[in-house]
């Protein structure tokens, strides 16, 4: 991989942010709403990518981090009447704490065992949500009241149900996480993570503490996923156990693989692509998952490193 000048990489990412901002003014209503949702879920994928793409740890349990943020924020509003910023912070704290605990336990394993352990923890988390149905709403979930989804900034009240406010909130979150991710992967710490992925033993021999670096990556990854979950609860008004099911652990993996693992913009591309394939094909056939499957096979054949990963490999080696 060629090294790009920092300005080139940051210019590209800022360009994407500006493009998304501009799209807010030209997109038809439906696609405007859909893109807001995609940006929030792309944050989930970016959190996943940090661990999977850059550290090489394949987790099958990231739905628990997303749901920790989802329930952390949602339940704080529903049961405690917290404000939007406080609830969002609660969601982040829940995700970070959970990621720390899970990381301490799961990082004692590696490879397939890590996949299984993370999946089992996620399943436990899912069942706990069902078990605590009196507070979580169980399998049916809970609605976050529309009246509580208001962001108060000084004298200004912004209703998060307003499409423009929602889009811009999603864009702000997406932009922050994108730039933070870019900053991490370009930092010394990011290079250590890649070194761990490429050759863990060698990195260890160079004097790096593998466990603590991995643990930090799990916590950052889990916190980013929780930010996505918290934003989902506050922007779209629903918390439900479906988001803690194994399906939502597989989805970010697919999004990242599609867009390109270990590329900063890949998660957005993958989430966008997958969403629109499902959205368009489901209009024609109920067997749309078959078409999604075929699309995935074609992508693996012709874009083995994902869309952006293959572009980087063949044409734009400087892409971060």
């Amino acid at each position: 991989m060629k090294e790009a000048s920092p300005s080139k990489a940051y210019a590209l990412h800022l360009g994407v942010i500006v493009l998304l901002f501009a799209l807010s003014f030209v997109l038809p209503e439906y696609h405007h709403g859909l893109l807001a949702r995609i940006m929030v879920l792309a944050v989930f994928a970016m959190g996943y990518n940090l661990l999977f793409g850059y550290v090489g740890l394949l987790s099958l349990g990231h739905a628990m981090f997303f749901s920790a943020g989802l329930y952390g924020a949602g339940l704080a509003v529903i049961h405690l009447g917290w404000s939007v910023p406080a609830a969002f912070a609660a969601g982040l704290a829940c995700g970070a704490l959970l990621a720390l605990v899970i990381g301490l336990l799961a990082l004692r394993t590696s490879g397939v065992a890590f996949m299984i352990v993370t999946m089992m923890f996620a399943q436990v988390f899912y069942l706990v949500i069902l078990y605590l149905a009196a507070w979580t709403g169980g399998d049916q979930g809970l609605v976050v009241p529309q009246s509580a989804r208001v962001l108060v900034l000084g004298d200004t009240s912004l209703g998060l149900t307003n499409p423009t406010v929602r889009y811009m909130s999603a864009l702000v979150l997406f932009s922050i996480v994108l730039l933070v991710t870019l900053g991490i992967v370009r930092s010394r710490y990011g290079r250590v993570l890649v070194a761990i992925r490429e050759n863990e033993e060698r990195t260890k021999m160079l004097g790096y503490d593998i466990f603590s670096n991995k643990l930090a990556a799990v916590v950052v990854s889990g916190t980013i996923c929780a930010a996505s979950g918290a934003a989902y609860a506050l922007l779209f008004g629903y918390v439900g156990s479906t988001f803690a099911s194994v399906q939502y652990s597989i989805l970010p993996l697919l999004w990242v693989l599609l867009g390109g693992a270990a590329t900063t913009l890949g998660p957005l591309i993958g989430t966008l692509f997958m969403y629109y394939v499902v959205d368009v094909t489901s209009g024609y056939t109920s067997a749309y998952l078959l078409i999604v499957g075929i699309a995935l096979i074609l992508l693996v054949l012709f874009f083995p490193r994902g869309i952006l990963g293959t572009i980087r490999q063949r044409w734009l080696g400087w892409l971060p």
Partner: protein, 434 residues
């Protein structure tokens, strides 16, 4: 009556013959202008668009298939009778995958891309609850056919209605008098350890207590369970009735293992048909259910007492006397629930006509017109039976059927009254702003 402001006193307007002629000419010119003609036609003959949020895939697919068939039959009947307000009805279907996240997206798609007049048809509770915020934010009337208590709980919003099928709280309450009087006084409940089961866990004991009976044990089965034998020793020996609600594909195993546990000597069995919807009651392993009783919203099997409206409804939807698709006996319907689609669409028709509904700008009027409805008479539009409607909680109340499994079919042995299922409202949607 005098007009103090002179608004209706033409003598004060200075209307001259020249002005009147100009006005007439302008009016005539406007009326024959091509754009006006097109606009008039669009208002008078453009279809009413109904967005159908269907469970085509996912766990609700069997229900979704039959909900679509019932909807198609009802829309055909409505259109053949002149449509709604003289306009044809067009149904646009989107698959929600029985997933609440996708469900919310689908509601958004109906509101902003298809620009439907209403959204309708959702069954699974978690999809309804997940989609309700999107409907409320889009100010989109959302008519569900779910039977969950979520609408009547008034925890959703003013745009969500359930006028075509009763809710589970009402159903459970209506079952209690018959169970206490005919099946037994000591009841053990077996239910899935998630929200649908909790409705039964919470609402049955007080309903039975009011009838002089009691729940002596409650056994919750985890949703991931695939074998049930280990739970059966928890059933107290003095149990007279086992009340079972086993939603999910494991129901066949549950019944088989219950049969193996009890052999030929068992307590009375009373269940909700939900798990066995779209499943042949004569499937291998279900023999143990012979002689047991089930709740049914609408009877699966044709009954000797069926009304002409019920017969016409069954013929229109295309189900035979055994409740299977005409021409395909293995394709068993979801008869206990799908009538709700038919009846909901007729409620929508009635409310739109009452509101003088012309287009999305009249959605608030449609909400108010629906809330103003109070009762639906039994007949071609409501073949399941008469119903009352509480506009404050957006929920209808109706009769329930108790059927006995005998001779390989379900025979209705008791019909409850509407009053059996009534309860005190838990809130009032009409206080919410539109």
């Amino acid at each position: 009556m005098t007009d103090k402001n002179g608004f209706f006193d033409l003598s004060k307007t200075g209307l001259t013959r020249r002005t009147a002629l100009k006005g007439l000419a302008a009016g005539a010119g406007l009326a024959v202008a091509p754009g006006f003609v097109r606009y008039s036609q669009a208002q008078s003959s453009a279809p009413i668009k109904i967005g159908f949020q269907s469970h085509r895939t996912g766990i609700g697919a069997a229900y979704g298939r039959w909900y679509e068939r019932t909807t198609a039959a009802a829309v055909k009947a409505i259109n053949e009778a002149g449509g709604i307000n003289g306009r044809p009805v067009e149904v646009i279907i989107e698959d929600d995958g029985t997933d609440p996240g996708r469900g919310a997206e689908v509601v958004g798609k109906f509101a902003t891309q298809h620009k439907t007049d209403i959204v309708y048809g959702t069954l699974f509770s978690h999809v309804v609850i997940g989609s309700a915020p999107a409907a409320g934010e889009a100010k989109m009337p959302y008519f569900v056919v779910s039977e969950g208590h979520h609408v009547a709980s008034t925890k959703l919003n003013r745009y969500v209605f359930q006028p075509g099928i009763t809710d589970v709280k009402s159903q459970i309450q209506a079952m209690a008098p018959w169970i206490a009087a005919n099946a037994g006084k000591k009841v053990t409940q077996i239910f899935p350890d998630f929200a649908f089961g909790y409705d039964h866990r919470d609402y049955l004991p007080p309903a039975l207590k009011a009838q002089g009976a009691e729940v002596i044990a409650q056994i919750a089965i985890p949703p991931t369970e695939s074998s049930f034998t280990k739970y059966f020793p928890q059933i107290p020996a003095e149990t007279e009735v086992i009340y079972h609600v086993m939603v999910g594909p494991a129901v066949l195993t549950f019944v088989k293992e219950l049969g193996e546990f009890y052999g030929s000597s068992r307590p009375q069995l009373f269940g909700f048909i939900d798990s066995l919807e779209a499943t042949d009651i004569n499937s291998p392993g279900l023999e143990f259910l012979d002689g047991s009783h089930f709740w049914e919203g609408s009877p699966r099997y044709a009954q000797p007492v069926d009304s002409a409206a019920q017969k016409a409804y069954r013929a229109a939807v295309g189900i035979d006397d055994n409740g299977a698709a005409v021409g395909d006996p293995k394709d068993v319907s979801t008869a206990a629930h799908m009538f709700g689609c038919w009846e909901t669409l007729y409620v929508v028709k009635k409310a739109m006509e009452d509101a003088g509904y012309k287009g999305p700008e009249d959605r608030a009027k449609l909400v108010e017109a629906t809330e103003a409805l109070t009762e639906f008479a039994e007949g071609p539009e409501h073949p399941q039976g008469p119903k009352t409607f509480n506009g404050k909680i957006h929920q209808c109340f109706g009769i329930q059927n108790i059927s006995k499994v005998e001779g390989g079919r379900l025979n209705v042995v008791h019909k409850t009254k509407i009053e059996d299922g009534l309860y005190e409202p838990e809130g009032d949607y009409t206080t919410q702003a539109l």
